[in-house]
Structure formats: C-alpha cells, structure tokens
C-alpha cells in the first residue's frame, strides 16, 4: 500500500479544520439565538411593566390616575454637580459620625474632624478629650449607615441637608449587646477651599 499523496493529506487536514469551523459557527449561532430570545423576552416584559400605570417607572405620557406623567425642566449642569457634592459631603460626614471604634479612637475622631469646620469643629474639638475617655472606658463601638440624605436648601457656598441613619451601638453598659440606634440629623455645610465641610450638626427632635 503506497502512502497517501501530500495533496490528499492536505485535503483531509483542511476538511477537519472546516468541520471545526462549522461546529464553532453552529455553537455561536445557537448561543446568539438564545441571547436574542432571552433579551427580547426581558425587554418586552420590562416594556409591559413600564407601560403599566402601576409601575413606578411609567414613562412620559402615561396616565397614572390623577394625571398624565409630564417632564419638568432640568437644572443647569453646574447646579446638578453642586447638589451632588453637597449631598455626598453630608452622607460622608454622617457615615464617619456613626462609625466609631474605641480601639481606633484617633482614627474615628479624625474621620469626623477632617469633614468639619467653624462652630462644629470647635465644639467637637472641645469634646474630643471626653469622647476618648468615655469611649475607652466603656469600650464603645458604634456601627451605622446612612439610609437617606435630602437637600433642604443649597446655594454656591452653603447648604442644609437632613440625614437619617440606622445602626447599632455596643458598650459595657449594654453588656456589649448591639442596641439599635437611629439618628435624624440636620447638617449645615459650607464650601471652604473647594471642599464642603460641616459647620453645624444638630439632631432633629
């Protein structure tokens, strides 16, 4: 039996690569078909929801009962950025304020101080010594998060923001059991050296 001519070997190799190519193309086609079907279903379902007046995402022109959804004017881009910065500063401050660890008193205090200025900074500095002593003695740990923050009023150099936080506090007095702690706070912010800092912080009774 004579060996197969080179041409035939080439043909067989190319046939194999053709088969591999076709199989790969077939698999890709099946995958794409599945994706198209899936995305169409998801998109269509979402569309149905949005068209439903009950949906919170009902679009412009949708009758929601009591009125037809209509768009309002948009603020200038600079105003949008300013509001975002004011809200973020308030959230960051409250996040620092409700997270306190007696094992890192300095770090916890500095996180608040670095976001403070004016009246609030003076008050906080004055209380720092007592805070350290109390926290270490009570072995106090406070963990929390900002639920929502809302801008009450704001302009180019000042803003008033209200914040609600939710968290826990644990210390010797609670037998280190975590007790729920919610804070409703109003913050006064001022723009200083391009940074929004807290000038006053009051709980809302």
């Amino acid at each position: 039996m004579s060996p197969a001519p080179n041409g035939q070997q080439d043909d067989e190799a190319e046939m194999r690569s053709r088969v591999q190519l076709n199989v790969a193309l077939y698999a890709a086609s099946v995958l794409c078909t599945c994706l198209v079907v899936l995305l169409t279903i998801v998109w269509w379902t979402g569309r149905d929801d949005a068209d439903d007046a009950a949906s919170p995402a009902a679009g412009v022109g949708t009758d929601v009962g009591g009125g037809v959804v209509a768009a309002v004017k948009l603020a200038d881009e600079s105003d949008q950025k300013q509001t975002a910065a004011q809200l973020k500063a308030a959230r960051d401050m409250m996040s620092a304020f409700v997270n306190f660890d007696y094992e890192d008193v300095e770090g916890s205090i500095e996180a608040v101080r670095s976001r403070s200025t004016g009246t609030f900074l003076k008050q906080y500095d004055a209380a720092t010594k007592a805070i350290k002593k109390l926290a270490e003695k009570a072995e106090a740990t406070q963990v929390g998060r900002v639920l929502w923050a809302g801008l009450v009023a704001g302009d180019q150099d000042s803003a008033t923001v209200i914040v609600i936080t939710s968290g826990t506090v644990a210390n010797k007095a609670t037998d280190f059991e975590k007790r729920s702690q919610r804070l409703r706070v109003q913050l006064e912010l001022v723009l200083k050296d391009g940074k929004w800092l807290v000038d006053d912080l009051q709980t809302v009774a």
Partner: protein
Amino acid sequence: MSTPGPRRPSTSRGGVQRPRKIAGAPAGRAEEKNPADRLAKPGSQRPDKREKGNKGDQGAEPDAPRAGRDSTRAERAAASALLTSARTTRILTATLGVLALLLAGLAVVWAVDSRADDGPGARDDRPVVADTLAVQAGVDAAAKAAEAMSSIDYKKYDANVDAAAKLLTSSFAKKYRDTAEEVKKEYMDLKTVVRAPVVAQGVVSASSTRLQALVFLNQDTYRVRAGEPERVVTQYAMLVTMVHTDNGWLVSEVDSDLKKETPGATESTPPDDKK
C-alpha cells in the same frame, strides 16, 4: 439552465455549473475525494459500500438489519458532508451576522427605551437633575401628602382617607385605601387620633419625571385602651417617591426608616404607630 442527471449535493448552488473548490481541494476534484459527498448524493455510485456488502460474512446477514445499518451510515455520511461543506460555513456565517445585528439592534432599542421612559434620569453621581423650582414644588407636595396619609382622626376616618388618596397615583391610592380599610376597625375601637406634623423635608433624588423626598415626621397618637387614655410619640423618616404629572406631583410609593432592619440589633425600634 439546468444540468441533466442526478441532483447535485449541497455543496452546489442551483444552476451553477462550475465545480466548486471544497476545503482547499482543487476545483473539480473535491466531490470525488470526499466519500461523504458521494454518500450524500442519492443515486450516485457507492463502490465502498458495495465492497463491504460483498464480503462473505456480511452477505449472510438478513436484508433488514443490513438496510438499517446502511441507512445509519448514510445519515452519518450526510451529517459529515454537511459539516465539511463550504456552503454550511457561508450559511452559518450569514446567520451569525444576522444574529449579531439583531443583538446590536436590541441593545440600541433597550438603551433608547430606558432613556425615553424616564427622561434624563437621576444617577448616583448626579442624584438631582431637575430644576430647583420643580424640586421645591415636589418636596412640598411630598411633605403635604406624607402628613395627610399619616394624620387620621377616627371621627373623620373616611374623609381623611379620601383627602389623602387624592394626592396619590391611582395604583398607590388603591394600596393606601386597602391598608386603611384593614386598620379601620382598630382605629374606631380605640378612638384613635393621629397627628403627624412634618418637622423637616429635603430632596434625595430628582429626575425629569420622578422625585424622592425625605420627610421627618413626629407622629403623636392618642387612643383609649381598656378605658385608659394613651399617648404614643413616634419620630420617624419617610421616603416619599413622587411622579410629576400634568396635575402636579403625586405620590407613587412610600418607604419608612421603621421598615428597615438594623442588622445585629437586639433591641427593636420604638413601636410603629403608622397605618
């Protein structure tokens, strides 16, 4: 223009006379070289099969099983012919192209649709994009509605519920009325009067059609339990979602901090006196 004789295999397009190069083989030789192609050709000569059929032991087999095996071999060969075919490659490539176009189209439609639904939307990095005056009107409406929904006097129960429902979208009004109906008996039995003045309000986010307002309320509840007057004060926060309509801002959803779990806490929050 047609060629007489047996139908050409799937490697040929109708009416095309010129033999096509398959898998790199020189034109005119490919069909001869590929036994699968020959098998796929009905009525064509199949010398390899005849050889097998002429072997002594196979010749003794009954006709039916042999026919079955022949048929299976033919099917395998047909599948093999399909996989080695250049035409299959072209068809699959075209199919894949069409599917890719469909996917791209879907992505575009999806993106356009989501933008159109809510107009220029509020994002995490730009939570408030609506105009200040519109936002102020929306937050005021949210505070008014939050107070109306929470302040109920058992003597004017239905009138209070009706008044509050006018500030809501129809779907949310239905939910509100359903809840009000569920707690009505308790309100009547305990002669409950709830006042919930707003103590602070602000905007959390605002797109061109939607707004979320944060409202702080101090709820004062008076009731008579077992003949004894009782007063409960609850301070809480409400997140009110508003939708802007041609009739002003309407409430489409509400949430409260009292509904939020505090992970790991062993002590619950004060009693919720909300309806």
